[in-house]
């Protein structure tokens, strides 16, 4: 009996049940997509509101207009913050890529005595909350004049200096490149450095772009370290720290719609870069994360 049932199921019935389950999946996926995109739509709508009421609990604006955007550039230092953050993003992308790639390549392809101890050390260091290093770094930076207006420089140093510790994903990528390639090149008389930049690097485009992307996005998202180094100095602010203050309880009502307008402006370039390079990001995460 049982086998008969199965045969029946895999005939016409199976197709029907698959159609039903696929329909359910489509409905769920559409629901998920709407939920995930809703906040962006909301922010966009909020930014076109022309009123001084602040949060009014309505999705669509009563009166449409660009007032928030105009206010943003006329009345605040937003442009300055934006340029600060963009420059920080570019600088961080350059240096961090260099640091992360040298660290991960070395740990993945080269064998030397200090390799395991170094990896263990970084694992242990990673368990301390990074924020605490700020107690000393802030003090030293303020002596050296790298806080307040000069905070962007100080922050780039902070983002890049220890970035070698985030080697996991790109090491995972390098691990997947067959070792025979190195050996073949070595037999042909290449030095280890030549193997690095003539053999492996040309194969590693996706992970290089992934690392650049991560470096570029770091300053846009960081609030914790930035707020400490910047110390409420408007000239040196990044968008994250500057905009956070607009939503404090006293300023919330006047600045809420302007915050959303600024959010749209911040989101556009980052999202554009991200979507353009999405392929590499996906490759990086799926390839490298497998090994954690």
């Amino acid at each position: 009996m049982k086998t008969e049932n199965k045969i029946k199921k895999s005939g016409l019935g199976a197709r029907a049940s698959r159609r039903i389950s696929n329909t359910i999946i489509y409905i769920v996926l559409i629901a998920i997509t709407l939920t995930w995109l809703f906040p962006f739509f909301g922010i966009l709508m909020e930014s076109f509101k022309v009123n001084e009421k602040g949060m009014d609990g309505e999705l669509f604006p009563e009166v449409w207009g660009f007032d928030n955007y105009i206010r943003l550039f006329k009345e605040t230092d937003f442009l300055k913050w934006f340029i600060n953050t963009a420059l920080m993003g570019i600088a961080t992308a350059v240096f961090q890529t260099f640091f992360v790639l040298s660290m991960s390549y070395t740990l993945s392809r080269l064998r030397f005595k200090a390799r395991k101890p170094l990896m263990n050390l970084m694992l242990i260091l990673g368990m301390f909350p990074g924020f605490l290093t700020m107690i000393l770094i802030y003090k030293v930076f303020s002596e050296a004049g790298l806080t307040m207006e000069m905070a962007p420089v100080g922050l780039v140093i902070v983002y890049c200096a220890s970035s070698g510790m985030g080697y996991y994903i790109s090491k995972g990528f390098f691990d997947t490149i067959p070792k025979t390639l190195d050996e073949a090149a070595r037999v042909d008389g290449a030095t280890r450095m030549q193997v690095f930049y003539k053999v492996i690097m040309p194969l590693s485009g996706s992970i290089v772009i992934y690392t650049i992307l991560m470096g570029f996005m770091a300053p846009w998202g960081d609030f914790m370290l930035a707020s400490y180094i910047i110390h409420e100095n408007s000239a040196g602010m990044s968008v994250a720290v500057g905009m956070f203050e607009w939503l404090s309880k006293t300023m919330l009502n006047t600045n809420y719609t302007m915050f959303c307008a600024a959010g749209v402006i911040v989101a556009i370039p980052v999202t554009a870069v991200f979507l353009a390079l999405q392929k590499y990001y996906v490759e990086g995460v799926t390839g490298g994360a497998v090994k954690g």
């Binding site: 698959r18 170094l118 200096a161």
Partner: protein
């Protein structure tokens, strides 16, 4: 406990198997601890042997070495110079001169070390307190700077590191000198400086590549962390900032204070926050993990079209900086936010808020906790979805095919094939995401700011304790959020976060099989 043989094990029914496995898991725990202690013991024993060997080696080097080797015990690089490695020899010599010069000059190494009163309970860090004295020229009190405790501690620490570097270099050049002697005795040629430079792009290429990243880590992570650990034993806060008021060594007082559950201690607050932090990390990690996997499976299912579109829609949320999206979402649920207002109209919720005198959803501890977990799902699913997609595609399709022929339902396929495979491959990253969730500052701070405030505890150590505060946000508030800026409490919390992470990682590393062998996947 008795281990069953395979035959006996197969005879058990499902419930007994579960019971048996659980029992075995818990019976193994004492074994782990014994193993851990043994491992630590072995580590120290190995260290002891290594140190002994080192001393024996130094001794024999001195006895058997020729006069050049013997001289290089006192003059750095002498042996290298003697055997013709000019560049190396000069570098060693320069290092020795700089070190001795630094230690001896006024306000050099010895000066800073002597100022520190290192670890003497009650003694100040630095010896001269700055103060106002009358100045006849300006006819007013002027500030006469004394020592700066921060600087004393920092320079003292640097000096100690420098001393270690000195000992290491001394040992290195003695060893090299002896190797030179041995090589010459065998009649071979010694490496020239040119060979040294060449090997930096070849055999020693790792040194070239690692130099900058490792220096960066030493200066910006290792040094600050050691400094932070030292701060935990002092009274460094806004009132004792080291410059206007010296701070002093207090021994274990700060630790006692944090673990003191009586009146005035921080123990209660700490316990409350720690338990929520663990709860949060658990739920945040596993809700994301399983839901993200389901989304990935739905998108990956055969016959589903527009795969790329669904993925892109989710991935978009990674691109937009968290502070924009999270701050907006947190306002959505506020009393006058779109969703908050909508939910507030539902009678049951309205009643709940009114009877408890809550102004918005964020004011209720239970709802706030649930909300941060739910919104974190929104944040985290795209990452997990991407990861899972790659892994799901790697599962051999014939496994599903043959199991289907054998009559397995989709649910059975999931439990027996997909889940074990996923767990095996993503085990390590599950651990990393658990640890990073313990320290997930952004989500909590931007969404709820740690609020609502825990009225039973109120404020502890000058900082209010919230129901959704994690250890990391509490630490942030300790250091930045109050006028007192208790750096010492922040440091102690930091050390305890480390302990929590380390213990959890050790346990999980021991339980998950896939973490054990790094080369397995290669």
């Amino acid at each position: 406990m008795k281990k069953l043989t395979d035959l006996e094990y197969l005879k058990l029914n499902k419930f007994q198997v579960l019971l048996y496995n659980l029992k075995r898991f818990f019976c193994a725990i004492p074994g782990w601890f014994v193993n851990m202690i043994l491992a630590i013991g072995r580590f120290f024993a190995r260290c002891g042997i290594a140190i002994k060997d080192e001393f024996v080696d130094i001794g024999t080097t001195f006895i058997k070495g020729n006069w050049a080797v013997k001289t290089s015990f006192f003059i750095f690089g002498f042996g290298n110079l003697f055997y013709g490695q000019i560049a190396r020899g000069l570098l060693f010599l320069l290092f020795e001169i700089v070190f001795i010069g630094y230690m001896l000059v006024p306000s050099g190494g010895i000066y800073w070390l002597s100022k520190g009163n290192w670890f003497q309970n009650g003694a100040t860090v630095g010896t001269v307190q700055g103060g106002f004295t009358y100045d006849p020229i300006f006819d007013t009190d002027v500030w006469v700077p004394g020592d700066d405790s921060v600087k004393v501690m920092l320079y003292g620490l640097l000096t100690i590191i420098f001393i270690f570097a000195f000992i290491y270099t001394w040992r290195l050049q003695v060893k090299q000198c002896r190797i030179c002697m041995d090589i010459t005795a065998q009649g071979k040629k010694i490496k020239s400086s040119k060979d040294d430079l060449k090997s930096l792009v070849d055999d020693q290429f790792h040194k070239t590549l690692l130099a900058l990243p490792v220096i960066g880590i030493l200066l910006f992570t290792v040094l600050p962390i050691i400094y932070m650990i030292l701060v935990a034993f002092t009274s460094y806060d806004a009132a004792h900032d080291g410059y206007s008021n010296l701070f002093s060594w207090v021994g274990l007082d700060n630790f006692n204070d944090l673990l003191d559950f009586g009146n005035g201690g921080l123990g209660l607050a700490f316990g409350e926050i720690l338990s929520w932090t663990l709860m949060w990390a658990f739920f945040a990690t596993f809700t994301n993990y399983f839901l993200g996997m389901f989304v990935a499976m739905m998108i990956n299912k055969k016959g589903i079209k527009l795969k790329k579109f669904w993925r892109t829609a989710l991935v978009m949320t990674i691109a937009i900086p968290q502070f924009v999206s999270l701050l907006y979402v947190s306002k959505l649920f506020d009393s006058s936010g779109i969703i908050g207002e909508l939910l507030g109209k539902i009678p049951a919720i309205k009643n709940y808020l009114n009877t408890n005198h809550y102004f918005s959803l964020w004011d209720s501890p239970a709802v706030a906790r649930a909300l941060v977990i739910i919104i974190n799902i929104w944040v985290g699913i795209p990452y997990v979805m991407l990861q899972a997609t790659g892994i799901l595609m790697n599962i051999p399709a014939d496994l599903y095919e043959s199991s289907r022929v054998d009559g397995a339902s989709p649910f059975q396929q999931y439990v027996k094939i997909t889940l074990p495979y996923m767990l095996f491959v993503t085990g390590p990253s599950l651990l990393t995401s658990f640890v990073s969730n313990l320290n997930n500052f952004n989500v909590i701070y931007l969404l709820s700011g740690g609020n609502p405030i825990n009225t039973q505890i109120g404020s502890a150590g000058g900082v209010s304790v919230g129901h959704t505060d994690l250890l990391i946000t509490w630490l942030y508030k300790m250091a930045l959020g109050s006028a007192e800026s208790k750096y010492y409490t922040a440091s102690v919390i930091g050390i305890l976060i480390f302990v929590v992470c380390a213990v959890l990682s050790l346990i999980i590393y021991n339980v998950i099989p896939s973490t054990k062998n790094e080369e397995d996947f290669q």
